[in-house]
C-alpha cells in the first residue's frame, strides 16, 4: 500500500545532513496564527457540536451516577469481598497514567530539545489536566463518605484529633496527584498566556477581548518578560520531569507496598511509568489525528509528529512487554507459591480473557509500528492507538482484579463482576474527558503558537544559512 501522504506534506523521509522541516507548506508566522486562532473564532463545526453533545450527555450521566452512588452507598458497585478495589481504582490508575504523556511531551521532550513537540504540547497538556480531573474523581467518591474526603488533608481538626497517616501510599497519592494536577495546570496555563494574548489582540468582540485580556494577564510580548518566562518555563520543565516519573511511581506504590501476590514487586514503579507513557501517547494520538483533520492543522501537526509519537509508543510498548515477561520470570525465579500461582492464574484462571486481551493489545499491537505504513497512515494510527488504550485499561483491570479475587486464602476467593454503575462511570468518565477537551478546542489555543513560530524561525534561519 502506497503511503497516502500529500507530497508537499511528507516530512517523514530522513535525509542525511538535512533537518526535516517541522512546519510545512510555506507557513508564515501569520499563517500559523490564523490556522490556530480560527478554530476558536469561527463557529464550531458540525462534528464538534455532535461530539460535544454526546460527550456532555455522557458526562451528565456520570454526574447522575455519582449522585446515586453518594446517596445509596458503594454497594452499587461490584466491589465486594475479596475484590474491594474494583473498577473505581482501575479507572483511577488508567486516567492518571494517560495524563502522564502530556507532561512528558511538555517537559521531558523540552529538556531533550525535541522541537517537534511544539505543535502537540498544548493539546497534550490539556489532555493531562482533563485526565487528572477524571482520575481524581474516583478516589474521591470511592471512600464511602465522599463528603468527608477533606479528612485526607493534614489540617488541624478539632473534630478528628488525629493527623493523616504519612506512611500510607494512599496518602502519598493524595499529595502526588494533587501536586501533579496543580503543576500541570500551572505549566499549561503559563504556556497559554502568550497565545491568549494573541487571542485577545485578534478579538473583535468587547466581551471576548475582556475575557482573553483577563486570562492573558496583560501580556505584551516584551523581551524582558519573555526572558523570565523562558526561564520559568525551563525550570517548570525540569521540575515536571521528575514529577511525572514520581507520580505514577507513587500510584504504583498503592499496590507494590501491599502484600498481595502479584502486587508486591519492585518492578511496579518503572513498569507503571512505562505503561503510563505508553497509554498517554496512545490517547494523544487518538485525539490528535482526528483533530488535525477536523481543524485543518496538517501543516503544523505533520505526519512526522505522528510518526515520532508512534515510535515512542513502540518503544514504551516494548518496555511494557518486557516488563510482563520480567514479572513472570521473577515469579518463577523467586519460587514463592502464591506469586507463581498469581501469574498462572492471570493467564489461565477465570479472567484469562482479560489477560489475553491485554497481551494482544499491549504487546502485539504496538509492534505493528515497526512498519512505516502503520506509522504514517492516520487511520491506522488511530486504530492501533485505540487498541493500546483498551489494552492498558485491561492491564490495570488484570492487575487489580485478578490479584484480589484470588490471593492467599482459597476460602476467600470469589469472582468479581461489575455492575451497571461501574460501566456507567467508566463510559461517563470518557464523556467528561471529551467534553472538557472539546471545550478546550473551542475556546483555547490548541497549539502553542509562540513555540511553533519559534520553531519556524529556527527552521527559516537554518534553511537560509544552509546548515543543519
Amino acid at each position: 500500500m502506497s503511503l497516502a501522504i500529500t507530497p508537499g506534506l511528507d516530512n517523514t523521509v530522513e535525509r542525511p545532513g538535512q533537518r526535516a522541516p517541522l512546519v510545512l507548506g510555506d507557513s508564515t508566522y501569520h499563517s500559523i496564527t490564523e490556522s490556530v486562532s480560527q478554530i476558536a473564532e469561527r463557529p464550531p463545526s458540525r462534528v464538534w457540536v455532535v461530539g460535544f453533545l454526546v460527550s456532555a450527555a455522557l458526562a451528565s450521566w456520570l454526574g447522575i451516577c455519582i449522585g446515586y452512588l453518594i446517596y445509596t452507598g458503594v454497594g452499587v458497585w461490584g466491589n465486594n469481598s475479596p475484590v474491594f478495589w474494583g473498577w473505581p481504582i482501575v479507572n483511577f490508575v488508567f486516567w492518571v497514567g494517560i495524563g502522564h504523556a502530556g507532561t512528558l511531551i511538555s517537559a521531558i521532550l523540552y529538556l531533550f530539545r525535541q522541537d517537534w513537540r511544539t505543535s502537540i504540547n498544548r493539546a497534550a497538556e490539556a489532555m493531562t489536566i482533563f485526565a487528572v480531573i477524571c482520575a481524581a474523581i474516583f478516589p474521591g467518591i470511592h471512600v464511602g463518605r465522599a463528603w468527608l474526603a477533606f479528612w485526607l488533608a493534614p489540617y488541624p481538626s478539632l473534630n478528628l484529633w488525629v493527623w493523616p497517616q504519612f506512611r500510607s501510599p494512599l496518602l502519598w497519592d493524595v499529595f502526588a496527584v494533587s501536586t501533579y494536577g496543580t503543576v500541570s495546570l500551572l505549566f499549561w496555563y503559563m504556556g497559554m498566556i502568550p497565545d491568549l494574548a494573541t487571542f485577545r489582540d485578534r478579538s473583535r468582540n468587547k466581551w471576548r477581548r475582556m475575557a482573553y485580556g483577563v486570562l492573558s494577564l496583560g501580556w505584551s510580548g516584551s523581551a524582558r518578560h519573555w526572558m523570565r518566562y523562558e526561564k520559568a518555563y525551563a525550570l517548570l520543565a525540569a521540575l515536571a520531569a521528575p514529577l511525572v516519573l514520581s507520580v505514577h511511581t507513587i500510584v504504583s506504590f498503592d499496590f507494590a507496598v501491599s502484600q498481595v501476590p502479584g502486587w508486591h514487586t519492585t518492578i511496579f514503579p518503572p513498569y507503571f511509568v512505562a505503561g503510563a507513557i505508553f497509554s498517554g501517547f496512545a490517547m494523544v494520538l487518538t485525539l490528535m489525528v482526528p483533530a488535525r483533520t477536523i481543524f485543518s492543522l496538517e501543516k503544523l501537526i505533520t505526519i512526522r509528529h505522528l510518526e515520532n509519537m508512534c515510535k515512542i509508543i513502540l518503544a514504551t510498548g516494548t518496555i511494557v512487554g518486557l516488563a510482563y515477561g520480567t514479572e513472570f520470570f521473577i515469579a518463577w525465579y523467586g519460587q514463592v507459591g502464591e506469586e507463581k500461582f498469581a501469574f498462572i492464574n492471570r493467564a489461565l484462571g477465570p479472567y484469562w480473557w482479560a489477560y489475553w486481551t491485554m497481551i494482544t493489545c499491549n504487546v502485539i499491537s504496538p509492534q505493528l509500528f515497526w512498519f512505516k505504513a502503520n506509522r504514517t497512515i492516520p487511520w491506522r494510527i488511530v486504530v492501533i492507538s485505540i487498541f493500546v488504550n483498551i489494552g492498558m485499561w485491561f492491564e490495570r483491570f488484570v492487575i487489580v482484579i485478578t490479584s484480589l479475587s484470588r490471593d492467599y486464602l482459597p476460602s476467600a476467593w470469589a469472582y468479581f463482576s461489575p455492575t451497571w454503575v461501574d460501566w456507567s462511570m467508566l463510559i461517563g468518565s470518557f464523556g467528561l474527558f471529551f467534553t472538557l477537551f472539546l471545550l478546550f478546542c473551542r475556546f483555547m489555543p490548541v497549539i502553542n503558537m509562540a513555540e511553533v513560530k519559534a520553531t519556524l524561525a529556527g527552521q527559516l534561519h537554518h534553511s537560509q544559512h544552509g546548515d543543519i
Binding site: T28, Y29, H30, T33, R145, P154, W161, V162, W163, P164, Q165, F166, R167, S168, L171, W172, F175, A176, T179, T182, V183, L186, F187, M190, P194, A197, T198, D201, R202, G213, V214, L217, G218, W219, S220, G221, S222, A223, R224, H225, W226, M227, R228, Y229, K231, A232, L235, L236, L239, A240, P242, L243, S246, F253, M449, A450, K453, A454, A457, H461
Partner: protein
C-alpha cells in the same frame, strides 16, 4: 486623543518584519547607549537578551528557595504529625521513618518550586498588568502575531524624541510610533460589577449560615442526611435479633466446623486421651468424644461434664516438648487460673479457699492438694490431669474456654514440676544451690530461734510457765525438722530447669511458715497431735506473719500436705481433698459420695480429728489402690473408711 501635547509620552517604538533585522537593530540601539529599551515579539527570540543588554534574572534562586522551603515544610509536618504529636503504631515501623516520608517531601518540594517559578515569574514581570500604554495603537496588536517591535522608553537618560525617532528609522524600523498615556475610561462595565456582586453575595451566604448555626441553639433535632449511616441498623454484640429462632444477634459457630488455626491433626492433643486405644476398647465412646471435640470449637468451648472418662487410656506423656519456656508458660497460667484455689504452691490453700473457710461456707470443698501421691504422674497420667483442667471435676469447673489447649499442657507440665518440687531431696539440687540452701537454712533457723525466744518471753509473761515451756519446746523441734525438708523441698531436683525453682520461692515462705504450723500435722510426731488444732491455728497465724506474708494466705491452716515425709499426713490433712480432687473421674455414681462423705468426717481444721484416724487410713488406701481402678478408686475408698 486629540490633545497630544497634554498626554505623557512614554516612549517610541518601531516595527520590524523579521528576526534578523530586529536583532541587528537591537544591537545598534544597545551600542548607542540606550538601556531602557525593550523588544516586543510574538515568540521568544534567541539572542535578544544579549542584543539588548538584558541582564539575567534571579528567578532560579527564588525557585530554589521555594523548593527548599517545601522540603522543610514537608519533613517538619510529617515528623510533627506522625512522630511527635500523635505517633501511630503502623506495623511496627519506626515513628521517624525517612523512607516513608520521602514521597510527600518530594511532592511538596516540586509543588512549592512550581509556585515559585510561576508566581515568581509573574511578580518579576509585574503581571498582571492590564493597562499598558503600548496597547493603545491597534497596530501593536500584531506584536503577538507576526511583527516585531523595538521600543525605547522616554525615561532613558539619552532619550530625545527626535534622536530616537531618527535612530529607529536608520536601523530599519518602519511605522515609527509614539506611545502616549492612555486616558480612556477605566470604568468597569456595569454588567461585570453586577456579576461580581452576585457571586460574592452567593459565596458569603453559606459562610454566614454556618456561622449562625454555630452560635445559636435549635429546638429541632439534628438533621441526618444519611440517617442509616449515623444510626446503623447493624446489630451490636449481645443484642436481640428477631431474625433467628434463638433470638440472638450473635451466631454460634456452625456445628462440625473448626476455625482456622483451631484444629490440630492430633485429636489426642485436644483430649488427653489416646483415642486409637480408646476406639479399640470402646468404639462408641471414642466416637462420642471426637464428636464432642468437634462441637467444642477445637476444645475451647465450655466443658461438658459428660466428657469425664475415668477409665480412658490417658496419654501418659505430655505431648509438648518440655522446656524452660513451657514451664514458664505453665507457671503463668497456673498462677492466673489455678492458684486462686489451689494456692501458688498447689497445696490447696488459695485465697478463694481461705475466704470460703473464713465465712464458714458450708458448700465449700477444700481444693485438692496437688501433692498427694495419688496425683503423682505414675498413677495419675498427664492426660487425665489435662482432662481435669479442661473439664473440671467435682466442684471444680472446667477451664477449656479460658485456657487454650496448648497452655493447658503447659499447666500440666508445671504441676508436675510443682509436685517434684515438694518431693525433692537435697541431692537433687545443683551443687551451687546446695550451698545457698545451707546458708539460708542457717539463717532461717536463726530467725526462728529468735522468734521462739520472743514467744517464750511473751508466753512467760502472759501465760503460765508450762504453756510457755511446751510451745518453745515444740516449736524449735518443729522448726528444726521441717526446716531441712521444707527448705529442701522448694529446691526441686531439676537441674536443667532452673525455672522450676520458681515454685520454690513461691513455696519457700510456706515451708518457713510450716515450722509454726507443723506442730500439728508434724511428720510422724505423735506428740504434735496433742497440740490442739485451734491452738495451732492462731499460732501459725501470728508466728507466720513475720516470716512469710504470703504464707498465711496460702497456708492458714495446718495442711502442709506436700511434705514428702509426711506420708500419713497428706492423707489425713487432705482427706477432704482426696475425695474431691484426686477422684477426678470417679464413677458418676460414686462421685457424690467421696465428695460428701469425708466432709462431715473432717472439719475445715483437718488437723485435729483425722489425725488418729489418718495414721491408719493411708495404709489401707495405698493397699487398696492396686485393686481399685488406677488413680481413682483409692480416693473413693479412702473416703469410705473415713465415712
Amino acid at each position: 486623543m486629540t490633545d497630544t501635547q497634554e498626554k505623557k509620552l512614554h516612549g517610541v517604538y518601531a516595527e520590524f518584519d523579521a528576526v534578523d533585522t530586529l536583532l541587528a537593530a537591537c544591537r545598534r540601539v544597545r551600542d548607542a547607549g540606550y538601556t531602557r529599551t525593550d523588544a516586543y515579539t510574538p515568540f521568544p527570540v534567541h539572542g535578544i537578551e544579549k542584543a539588548l543588554g538584558i541582564r539575567p534574572t534571579a528567578l532560579p534562586w527564588i525557585v530554589l528557595g521555594c523548593g527548599l522551603t517545601g522540603s522543610a515544610v514537608a519533613i517538619c509536618m510529617q515528623v510533627w504529625m506522625n512522630s511527635i504529636n500523635y505517633p501511630y503504631i503502623i506495623s511496627g515501623k519506626p515513628y521517624f521513618s525517612i523512607p516513608a516520608f520521602i514521597p510527600v517531601m518530594f511532592e511538596l518540594t516540586i509543588l512549592l518550586s512550581a509556585f515559585g517559578a510561576f508566581f515568581g515569574m509573574l511578580a518579576l514581570n509585574r503581571l498582571p498588568k492590564f493597562s499598558n500604554p503600548v496597547f493603545t495603537n491597534p497596530r501593536f496588536d500584531r506584536a503577538t502575531d507576526d511583527k516585531f517591535f523595538l521600543y525605547i522608553d522616554a525615561s532613558d537618560q539619552r532619550f530625545s524624541h527626535q534622536g530616537v525617532t531618527r535612530l529607529l528609522g536608520e536601523i530599519g524600523g518602519t511605522e515609527i510610533q509614539d506611545v502616549y498615556e492612555d486616558n480612556s475610561s477605566t470604568r468597569v462595565p456595569t454588567a461585570i460589577k453586577v456579576v461580581i456582586g452576585v457571586l460574592a453575595f452567593l459565596a458569603i451566604v453559606p459562610l454566614l449560615s454556618v456561622a449562625r448555626m454555630r452560635v445559636t441553639n435549635s429546638p429541632n433535632p439534628r438533621f441526618h442526611v444519611f440517617y442509616d449511616m449515623d444510626f446503623s441498623p447493624a446489630k451490636e454484640p449481645q443484642t436481640i435479633s428477631t431474625l433467628f429462632a434463638d433470638g440472638r444477634a450473635m451466631r454460634p459457630d456452625v456445628p462440625g466446623t473448626v476455625a482456622v488455626g483451631q484444629f490440630d491433626e492430633d485429636p489426642n492433643f485436644y483430649t488427653g486421651v489416646d483415642l486409637e486405644e480408646l476406639a479399640r476398647r470402646d468404639h462408641d465412646r471414642a466416637v462420642r468424644l471426637v464428636r464432642a471435640l468437634q462441637d467444642s470449637e477445637g476444645g475451647t468451648a465450655a466443658p461438658q461434664p459428660t466428657q469425664q472418662l475415668d477409665d480412658a487410656p490417658w496419654l501418659t506423656e505430655n505431648p509438648r516438648p518440655l522446656s524452660l519456656d513451657l514451664l514458664e508458660r505453665g507457671r503463668m497460667k497456673f498462677e492466673i487460673y489455678c492458684a486462686a484455689c489451689h494456692g501458688n504452691d498447689g497445696r490447696g490453700h488459695g485465697l478463694v479457699s481461705a475466704r470460703a473457710q473464713q465465712i464458714l461456707s458450708t458448700a465449700w470443698v477444700q481444693p485438692s492438694s496437688l501433692h498427694q501421691e495419688t496425683l503423682y504422674q505414675d498413677v495419675y497420667p498427664d492426660g487425665k490431669l489435662f482432662s481435669v483442667i479442661s473439664n473440671g471435676i467435682r466442684k471444680m469447673g472446667g477451664y477449656a474456654s479460658q485456657i487454650s489447649v496448648r497452655d493447658r499442657w503447659a499447666v500440666v507440665a508445671y504441676v508436675r514440676a510443682l509436685q517434684l518440687s515438694q518431693n525433692a531431696s537435697l541431692d537433687d539440687l545443683p551443687v551451687n544451690r546446695r550451698n545457698d540452701l545451707s546458708r539460708r537454712k542457717a539463717e532461717v533457723e536463726q530467725r526462728l530461734g529468735e522468734q521462739a525466744e520472743a514467744e517464750r518471753r511473751r508466753a512467760e509473761e502472759a501465760a503460765g510457765a508450762p504453756a510457755a515451756a511446751a510451745e518453745p519446746a515444740a516449736q524449735p523441734e518443729a522448726a528444726a525438722e521441717p526446716a531441712p525438708p521444707a527448705e529442701a523441698a522448694p529446691e526441686p531436683a531439676m537441674q536443667e530447669q532452673p525455672a522450676a525453682t520458681e515454685p520454690a520461692p513461691a513455696t519457700e515462705p510456706e515451708p518457713a511458715a510450716e515450722p509454726e504450723v507443723s506442730p500439728e500435722p508434724a511428720p510422724a510426731e505423735p506428740e504434735m497431735a496433742a497440740e490442739p488444732a485451734p491452738a495451732a491455728e492462731p499460732e501459725p497465724a501470728p508466728a507466720a506473719e513475720p516470716e512469710t506474708d504470703p504464707a498465711p494466705a496460702t497456708a492458714p491452716e495446718p495442711a502442709p500436705a506436700s511434705e514428702p515425709a509426711t506420708a500419713p499426713e497428706p492423707a489425713p490433712a487432705t482427706e477432704p481433698e482426696p475425695a474431691p480432687a484426686p477422684a477426678t473421674e470417679p464413677e458418676p455414681g460414686t462421685e457424690p459420695e467421696p465428695a460428701t462423705e469425708p466432709e462431715p468426717a473432717t472439719e475445715p481444721a483437718p488437723a485435729t480429728e483425722p489425725e488418729p484416724a489418718p495414721a491408719t487410713e493411708p495404709e489401707p488406701a495405698p493397699a487398696t489402690e492396686p485393686e481399685a481402678e488406677p488413680a481413682t478408686e483409692p480416693e473413693a475408698e479412702v473416703s469410705e473408711p473415713a465415712a
